[in-house]
Every structure is written in C-alpha cells, then in structure tokens.
Amino acid sequence: MIRDSIQGRAWKFGSNVSTDSIAPGRLISLRANPQEYAKHVLEDARPDFVQGVKADDFIVADRNFGCGSSREIAPIIIKLAGVGAVLSKSFGRIFYRNAINNGMLLIECDTDRIAEGDELVVDVKGRVIRKTGDPDFEMPFTLSEKEVKIINEGGLLNYIEKYNSLDI
C-alpha cells in the first residue's frame, strides 16, 4: 500500500544521477546479494549518503534522476537502504518503471525549493509536501494513476497476480 505520510530528512543530489552512480557496475558481483549491494548505494555520487541515511529519508535530486542503464538493482537497493521516496524534477524512464514495479515511491516536483537537511513531511494522501518548522511551505504534487495502482499492490507482479491483467 502507498503510505499516507512519510517523514524524513532531505539528501540533495545534482542532475543526471545515473544508475551507474546508484549501483556501480564494478560491484556487479554483489547483484545476487542486494542487501550487501545496498551498502554501496550512490557511493560514487555522494559517499556520505549511505553512511548517514536513515529510514524514510528522502533523495532529492535536480533533474533526470536514474538515467542510463536498465539495471533494476538500482531502485531495489535505494529501497533497501530505507529511502522513503525519491523526489526529482524528472526521472530516467526505465528507472521510473523499475522503481514503481518494485513499489518504490517517486515524486516529480520542483526540488529547487528543498534544501539539504530539510526535514520533510510528504503527505502522500493529501499530495502535498511540507517542511517541519516552516508552516508557510507547502508544495502540492501529483502522482500518476498507474504509479498509485502498482505501488498499492506492492509492485507490478502482485498487481498482475491480483487482476490477471497487464492493463494497468
């Protein structure tokens, strides 16, 4: 199920964070062991991230997060690291599908309005992002119907099993 609300810290990233940065190819032998691979998530882009990330924290990127290869291990290890959602102005298309298919929440929004270390409350139900300690900050967002349907079932394969259909 999509959670009603997620609260965590913002970790800022730049543009064009590729799946090579998220899940480096040089560690490909860890693919069979995602828990181990998750200890290296995004380490080439920002080494302090994996050391400090806590459950429900947010990745907040500029544009085109997850561009590049189709490796599905990229969203899988972001999820395993405990990330609550990824916020970006745009996403690489295959990464987007892979994330949703694994029940990982992605939100397209104007991430310039969020700073490193901001404490965010993502009100998923109300489709609005708020900041702890800044009552004036309110950023509405939308989610696609498909994203909601697939994440609500916990991923694509659950959805197909339940509805016996690929017509999302």
Binding site: N16, I28, N101
Partner: protein
C-alpha cells in the same frame, strides 16, 4: 493527418489506429535478456513459482550472456542461471564472448516494423529497422516473457531532420553527439525520436544503428527510422531479406518538436566527462593526454567502425604510454574483420583485441582504467564510474577520433591524421 513512425508501428501491432498519449498493451514480437537483466528475471520467476511455466513463445525469446569468457565465479554463476533457464524453456541462447545482446537480435531475428522489448536500455538501437523498440527492467521482462505483452504509452515524437553530406572525418556518432548537445540528456524523456532527412538515408545500416543505439542516452523512449534499400541489403547479409518491410514516414504527422541538424557543418565532436550532453569539438580538447582508448560497444563496434580505425592506424603504432583496446561487438563483426585483415592491421598497430563482448563499457569486463586515468571510448556513456573506476575521466567519440587519439596519445581531431 498523418502518423508518426511510432504511431504507425504500434497501430499495426494493435490492429487499430493509435495516437500519441494513449496507453496500450502491445504484443511483443521479439523479446531478449542479457546477463544483466536475466539473472533477476530468473530469480523472480523462481520466487513466484513461475519458473516451470512456459515462456509465451520460445521462438521469440532470446537469452544472451554478454560478459564472456566469464572472468569470476560470480559472473559464471549468473551466466549459468540464465543458461539453465533459457535451455530449459527452449528459448534462443547465445554464450558470452559471442557478442552483445542487440547484435544477436538485429543480425538474426529482428523483422522490420515490429515491436521489440529487451531488458537493456540500449534497445532503442532496433529502431534503425523501423521498429518500436525500448528497454525495460527485469520485472517488466517477467511479464513480457510470460505473456508476450507489456503496457506502453504511445510516445510523442521529436522529428530530427539531418540534411547534407557528412564532411571528411565526421561520422554517425558525431551526429548523435551533436543532438545530445542540443536536447541534453532529459528533454526527450518519454519521447520518440524520428530520424529523417537525406543524411540518414545515405547512411549505412551500421551508421544508423550507432545513432539509434544512443536514443536512450538523450533520454528517449525509442528512436526510429524509415527503412529502405540499405535496410534490405543489410538483412540480405544475414540471409534474411524476407524480413524486410518498407516503412515510410508521413510529412503531416503531429511532431511535438522539430530539430534540424546541418550535417555538412558538423565537425568531429566529443562528450566530455561526466555527461553525454557535455559536448565539445574534439580539436578543443587536444591538450588532454589519454591513457586508454576503447573502440567497441553496441554503439560503435561494427565492421565499418573497425575499418575506419584500421585505415587510420594502418602501418603505424599506438603512441607509447597509451593503450588501445578493440572489441568487435558480434561474432559476425569478428569474423568479417578477421577475414579482411582488419584485426591484423589493428593488432600490428599495437591494439589489444578481445572476443566479442561489451568490454569495459559498464565497468564489468576487461579493460578497466586505473585511478585518475583519461579514457577515450566509442561507447555511449561517460558517467562517473561507468567504466569501473570512479576516478577515471571518460570522453566519448567516433572510432575515427578514437583511432587518431591512439596515434598521438592526445585527443585528436581525426582530420589531422587522415590521408
């Protein structure tokens, strides 16, 4: 009102006219996986108890390992997992060290004007056959492999008109790098790139495949071209002329954006570290000393690419202190370049040559750069860490620029060394 090429192909697939923006469940004409997407697919099948079920049509499913011969036991075990599944389900099967997955697909199976889905981002390459072809991850491939279907939003189209004769020293790769400089890595996300114009018509199929392979690297869902005599001739080489279908574009289709590229005005280009969109003239980077050069990959490892490199390196030697790695990207390319002496010419110039595979492009196989080294590669991506070392700097170029750079040890505009 006409249709874009992608609307034509998906309409034919669905049996009724579709328009950009509609979501449809397409029938997949050909599906493939490699040793990147295959192992997770097999594990997902096993976890869910689907692994004993048949695939939708074993004649339309290929598993191809890429990174061979296997270099570690972990890689060998992942390969074994895919091999066992593919053979057990009667699918097409190709061993590592015989080429990248896409070469197996377009050389042996792909028919013009069809829908092709592969568990690899560079699936956009198949659009050079007038196909709708896009990549996806392992979970989507579980559905494709079981049911032969996947959901797709029919994309809007950017029409890319390329006109004029390519000047000396300028190749298909430079056209694509030019486009990357114009639309960057994200403006075409979810879009179809429809390549038209007399430059595209005059390009060989190998050059066209270079362009479509990089569709994903400017963010696109797919890249697509008309088919013509070049397409038919290429299929004839593989004994498959019957798989040719003429696909023509409409002038009055609804294009979201039209981009014109004057090929005659192009000069040799490079993408500078660490982004494909970071495009500059090769001659502006001539002070950069280069440690490693890689000519190969699904973007630029075909016969013509190796011919261009061999012409530049014939009778000469790779600069001292610089190493050159050449990898033909399929068994067909390997055999052609063995027969005509191209590989001998390159080896005599000092090149290291590997069996057909993806090489160091994604940092998995042999040819990994040392710390802080500078690389010129004919592949499609130069992200930080892409080739297996996050301290290396990668420039992308055409095979001609790469070969010229191998001669001098510095990034070199190929016009400086071409006869």
């Amino acid at each position: 009102m006409g249709q874009t090429l992608v609307e034509k192909i998906i309409s034919k697939n669905m049996g009724y006219p579709v328009k950009a923006g509609e979501t449809v469940v397409v029938n997949v004409d050909f599906a493939a996986l490699h040793d990147g997407s295959g192992p997770l697919l097999v594990r997902l099948m096993q976890e869910r108890g689907y692994d004993k079920d048949p695939v939708f049509d074993p004649e339309r499913v290929l598993f191809a390992n890429e990174f061979g011969p296997e270099s570690t036991k972990e890689v060998a075990n992942e390969h074994a997992l895919c091999r066992q599944y593919a053979l057990g389900h009667g699918c097409h099967w190709e061993e590592g060290g015989t080429g990248h997955v896409h070469a197996h697909v377009y050389e042996n199976f792909l028919k013009c004007g069809t829908v092709c889905i592969v568990g690899d981002s560079h699936t956009t390459v198949h659009g050079a056959y007038g196909c709708f072809a896009t990549g996806c991850g392992s979970t989507d491939m579980v559905a494709v492999t079981r049911f032969g279907q996947t959901w797709i939003k029919v994309p809007e189209t950017f029409r890319i008109n390329v006109t004029g004769a390519l000047p000396k020293g300028v190749y298909a790769k430079d056209i694509m790098l030019k486009l990357a400089g114009i639309i960057k890595s994200d403006q075409a996300i979810y879009k179809s790139l429809e390549f038209r114009g007399d430059t595209i018509s005059s390009l060989s199929m190998e050059g066209r495949l270079t362009i479509t392979s990089m569709g994903v690297d400017v963010g696109a869902k797919n890249a697509i071209m008309e088919t013509d005599e070049h397409t038919r001739e290429y299929l004839r080489k593989f004994g498959r002329e019957e798989d040719y279908v003429e696909i023509r574009g409409d002038e009055d289709a609804a294009f979201e954006r039209v981009i014109d590229i004057d090929a005659a005005a192009l000069e040799p280009l490079v993408s500078k570290p660490h982004y494909v969109e970071n495009v500059d003239l090769a001659k502006n980077c001539s002070r950069e000393h280069v440690d490693l050069i890689y000519i190969g990959s699904c973007t630029n490892g075909r016969v013509e690419d190796l011919h261009v490199a061999a012409e530049i390196l014939r009778g000469k030697k790779v600069a001292r202190g610089t190493r050159l790695l050449v990898i033909p990207n399929s068994s067909y390319v390997f055999k052609e370049c063995l027969r005509d002496g191209t590989l001998l010419t390159l080896a005599e110039a000092g090149a290291m040559i590997e069996a057909p595979n993806c090489g160091p492009c994604m940092g998995v196989h042999q040819g990994i750069p040392a710390d802080n080294e500078v690389v010129v590669a004919t592949q499609n991506r130069n992200f930080k860490g892409r080739m297996g070392n996050p301290t290396a700097s990668i420039y992308l170029s055409s095979p001609a620029t790469a070969a010229a750079t191998a001669l001098t040890g510095y990034i070199t505009d190929p016009r400086e060394v071409m006869a």
